[in-house]
Symmetry: C2
Subunit: 229 residues, 2 copies
Amino acid sequence: MPAQQRRTGPAAPPSDRVRLRRKRERGDYDRTVIDAILDEALIAHLGIADRHGQPYVVPTLHARSGDVVYCHGSTASRTLRALAAGAKACLTVTLLDGLVLARAAMHHSANYRSVMLLGEAKPVEAEADKLSALEAIVEHIVPGRWRDVRPPNENELRATSVLAIPIEEASAKVRSGPPLDDEEDYSLHTWAGLIPLASRAGAGEADPRLLEGIPPPPYVSAYRRPGAP
Amino acid sequence: MPAQQRRTGPAAPPSDRVRLRRKRERGDYDRTVIDAILDEALIAHLGIADRHGQPYVVPTLHARSGDVVYCHGSTASRTLRALAAGAKACLTVTLLDGLVLARAAMHHSANYRSVMLLGEAKPVEAEADKLSALEAIVEHIVPGRWRDVRPPNENELRATSVLAIPIEEASAKVRSGPPLDDEEDYSLHTWAGLIPLASRAGAGEADPRLLEGIPPPPYVSAYRRPGAP
C-alpha cells in the first residue's frame, strides 16, 4: 500500500518557489486538490514580513471564490494595511487528519493536507465586490448562513478591508497512509499505526440573548465541513 | 456575560512587536496561558521570510519544553537551514474552539486560542540535547509513546536538524463567549450562538504490517489532548 496515494498526472508546479524539493511524492499542484483543501479548512495562517525581515503569522478566516482567496479585517489592522499596500503574502491552510505512530521515533509523523499560496493581495474596493467577498467568507464558515443575517451596512463596509490573493503560485502537500518504518524495524514488538483526527462540531449553543422560539437552523444542528472525510 | 473572559492581572507584553494594538481585550502575555495553548496544539505554523521579503508559512510538529519551543526537520530542508542560519522566525499555533454566529454578517467570528512567538531559532547541537528535544516532540504528540519506540540512532540524529525558539517575545490571543451584536440587532428573529468545534481522535488503526497479538496501548485507545476542554 503506498504511503502517499498519488493521483494520476499531477499538475506541474506553477513556479520554482512553490515546487517541493524534498519528499516530492507529497507535492501536488492540481487545482482540484488545492481548491478542496482551501474549501474544507476553516482557518488559514497568513504570513507577511516587515521591512526588517521579521515574519508575522496570524490566523484568519478565509474563503476561496473561483481563482482567488479572500480574507478580511479592520482597516485599522497593521497586517491588512501592509498587505493592501502590496506586501508579499503567504497563506497556508492545514487539515490535520491523524497522527502516525511508527516503530522508530524518527518516523513519527502526521497525516495532513496542506496548501501554501504565495502572492500579493489586491484590495477589493468596489462595494458590490466587497459584499460578494464577505458573503463568500460567511458562507465558507457556515454554508447557508448568509440569507439569514443582517447584511453589512455602508459604515461596516467602509471600516472593513477585504483582500484577494490570486491562486497562481500554490502547492498542496499531502501525507496519508500508514507509518513507513525501516525494513528491519518491522519485526519489533511495538504497536504501530494511525490515530485518526477530525474536527467535530458539537450541538449549537444559543446566544443567552436569543429571542424565544427560534430553533437552531439545519446548518447549525447538522453542521459539518463540506468535503470532510 | 463578557465575551472575552479575563483573568485578573494579565502580564505585560514583553515587546512592542507582540503587543496587541487592536481588540486588546483578547491579548494575554501570561506564560501560563501561552504554555497551555502551545502544549495543547498539535501543529504549529512556522513563518520565515526570504531576502526578497517573501514569507513562507509551513506547518510543523512542535513541542514546548520549559522556556523553548522545539521543532525539527531534515538537515536538507530549506526552511530549517535558513532558521539555523539565524533567520527571524514566527511560530504561531491556533486552537479553533468554535464558530460564532451573530445576527449581523460582520460580527461573525471564531472562538479560538492562539499564540504567536517571535524570535531566532538556535540549532540544538549536542547529541544528548537533540535526543531530549526529539523525546519532547514525540511525547508532545502522543504522551507515553517515547518508552515504546526504537530511539534515534547516530545516523538519524546527524540527518536531523533540531531548533529551539526561546519563549521570550510571545503573546496569546483568545476569543471566547457568545456573539457580540449591535444593540439594535438583538431584536432580530435570527438564530445566533455558537457551533462548538473540537479535534476528536478516532479508534487507532493498526499498521497493516503490525505483528499479530499487539493490542493498541492505552495512549492510543484513550487518546486525548492534554488540557483539551
